[in-house]
């Protein structure tokens, strides 16, 4: 595609995106990183894991996103007694006809909020994660495709681990991003307070149709990535797997590095980041900007990191500071 043509398409696509973002911002005060993360996940064709304490407007953000996109939305509260069929659906016996008919579960929606995903047992988590990967669900003998776009937002609480089932690394790897939802700033919290006091939480008007999502994804797919950027992405991911145990090396803090899937997601997210910046090509700063969210749940920290009270983000910062950018 001609760069001029791409730039024009990018301009109109950004217009759509900006409108949707503005609409969500009307309902959510602050939390720019979370909203950007949600859009990045949906535009990169992946699913997002949100981690934050309760009361940070995670559910509201996802609801607002669904409203802004004009997409179907379901929320599933994960509990220890949840069954896979509660999620995917099951065969129901119809007395009138004497046959079993499928009853589709809440997973058959464009946007699914899996609230507190780590509170459900592993078999339920697996059922959802399989649907996320395959984008289809099998009920009885039939396989049903999930709607397009299909976007799962899972949340988990970082402080309460009692009675939870932490997601294993293999399942965490399925999420394109892990977005940390932080407390709002004082002035943002004040604004939230005022809005809640007025009972005016803001309505989200529709800005995108599900078809627009596909169009935005196509435009983003055409964003150019130089071969040196590709090499940089691979260098970053492979550097996380280096086993140099030098005293000053970040690698001593990493028990297991990121998988090749991380490189793919880094590549996709860097393109979306370039789109956010209004560029028709990816630059190293795009890769650096998305690297923490893409890598933080894919890197298993070592005991040394724990003893030094380092978080994954600290190690990723060291990693980014060690690998030369093109």
């Amino acid at each position: 595609m001609d760069i001029q043509q791409l730039q024009e398409e990018l301009g109109s696509a950004r217009g759509l995106y900006s409108q949707a973002r503005e609409n969500i911002s009307a309902a959510i005060v602050g939390q720019r990183d979370m909203i950007d993360g949600l859009f990045m996940g949906i535009l990169a064709g992946g699913h997002v894991l949100l981690e934050g304490v309760p009361g940070l407007a995670k559910t509201l953000a996802v609801k607002s996103l669904a409203q802004a996109i004009d997409a179907s939305f379901k929320r599933i509260q994960f509990t220890p007694d949840l069954l896979p069929a509660d999620l995917t659906g099951t065969l129901v016996y119809r007395q009138q006809t004497g046959e079993f008919v499928p009853r589709k579960g809440p997973v058959f929606s464009n946007i699914v909020l899996a609230d507190e995903i780590n509170r459900a047992p592993a078999k339920v988590q697996s059922a959802l994660l399989e649907a996320m990967e395959e984008k289809q669900v099998t009920i009885g003998d039939n396989t049903y495709p999930l709607p397009d776009p299909f976007f799962v937002l899972a949340t988990q609480n970082p402080i309460e681990h009692e009675g939870t089932y932490p997601l294993p690394e293999a399942q965490l790897d399925r999420f394109i991003l892990k977005v940390l939802v932080r407390y709002p700033l004082v002035e943002e919290e004040l604004e939230i307070l005022r809005r809640a006091g007025r009972g005016n939480l803001g309505a989200v008007s529709r800005a995108l149709f599900p078809g627009d999502i596909r169009r935005l994804q196509d435009v983003i797919g055409n964003i150019g990535v130089d071969e040196r950027i590709e090499l940089y992405i691979v260098s970053l991911v492979s550097a996380s797997r280096e086993k140099q145990r030098g005293h000053n090396s970040y690698s001593r803090y990493i028990e297991f590095g990121a998988s090749p899937r991380a490189a793919i997601y880094l590549y996709r997210c860097a393109k979306v980041q370039a789109f956010f910046e209004g560029r028709a090509y990816v630059m190293p700063e795009d890769v650096k900007a998305v690297a923490p969210a893409v890598l933080r749940h894919r890197i298993v920290l070592s005991y040394e990191a724990e003893s030094d009270e380092l978080r994954a983000d600290d190690v990723i910062k060291n990693l980014l500071g060690a690998v030369s950018v093109p």
């Binding site: 630059m283 700063e285 500071g321 093109p326």
Partner: protein, 313 residues
């Protein structure tokens, strides 16, 4: 006759007489051949006193008639006390000298067998070989110390002195020179990135029209980053242009220089990653701008070092 001639003749006569008396005193008695054709007028050993192993010359002065033949012995007799080596005949004015060389290996008086030198036969000769131990004390001398070559002690003393003095002198010199050396090394090291960068930029200037834009800016910006890496002592190679912005802001005294550098990097990123083309003039312009900024940066660094107010920097 002049008195001087008279005096000279008398002196020569006196010398001849003295020589005759000397020969008579230290030589065996002269003897003649049986047929009277020769007379052995003197026998002399050179050196007069000799020891075991010495090479000795036996010199016989023979006055022979014109019919007598004097020849060097063709074969010497074998003797137990030593051996004969060689002989020669030396004719002199009115007499003949027979030189016979031998070495004695035994001490004491030894009889020399007849030595046939043509018509002349040297007979009745004795050799007296002396011993080094004669007259020496009975007890063996105590052992000598090590024999030293002349000036050996002086050389040893000088060497020992140098061994002590040289390290001290080296140490003193090092202490004295160290600050100066450190300055020279620091200056050399400090300027090394700049020298390397200048070299790289000169190379790029030469190739500005040849390489494609992308390759040109890859090399150009990498060279600038390597320089900044050393300049700010941070891993600028791992910095993006956005991160470098903060570095430039902190490094350049004149904010216009920082902005100029940043513009070069931003434009270079567009060329490198966005496929933007640029003319040779633009490349040369960027090279010129970078060179000028770097020159100012280096000069400001040197000025800051010289300025005592910046001594602690």
């Amino acid at each position: 006759m002049k008195p001087a001639d008279l005096f000279g003749r008398r002196r020569r006569r006196f010398l001849r007489r003295a020589l005759f008396l000397f020969l008579c005193a230290f030589s065996p008695a002269p003897f003649s051949g049986a047929d009277g054709r020769y007379t052995v007028e003197g026998i002399q050993f050179i050196p007069p006193a000799y020891y075991v192993g010495d090479r000795v010359e036996l010199r016989a002065v023979v006055r022979a008639s014109s019919g007598a033949q004097v020849l060097a012995p063709k074969q010497f007799p074998r003797v137990e006390w030593g051996e004969f080596h060689e002989a020669s005949i030396v004719p002199r004015d009115g007499f003949i000298e027979i030189h016979i060389f031998f070495t004695a290996y035994q001490t004491g008086d030894k009889t020399v067998p007849n030595l046939v030198c043509g018509d002349v036969v040297l007979q009745g000769l004795n050799v007296s070989v002396r011993s080094l131990t004669e007259g020496a004390p009975q007890e063996p001398a105590p052992p000598h110390g090590n024999l030293l070559l002349p000036s050996t002690r002086l050389i040893i003393a000088l060497a020992a002195g140098l061994l002590i003095v040289l390290p001290l002198a080296g140490l003193a010199g090092f202490v004295w020179l160290r600050p100066w050396l450190n300055k020279v090394i620091a200056y050399y090291r400090q300027r090394r990135p700049y020298r390397k960068l200048k070299k790289d930029l000169a190379l790029l200037r030469g190739r500005a029209g040849e390489a494609d834009s992308r390759q040109f800016y890859i090399s150009f910006l990498d060279a600038l980053k390597r320089y900044m890496n050393r300049h700010v002592r941070a891993n600028c190679l791992a910095f993006t242009t956005r991160e470098l912005e903060a570095v430039f802001r902190a490094s350049f005294e004149d904010s216009r220089d920082g902005r100029g550098f940043l513009d070069i990097f931003r434009f270079g990123d567009e060329v490198k990653f966005g496929g933007r083309e640029c003319s040779r003039e633009k490349r040369l312009q960027d090279l010129g701008l970078a060179s000028a900024i770097l020159w100012r940066l280096e000069n400001s660094k040197s000025a800051a070092k010289k300025d005592p107010r910046h001594a602690d920097l």
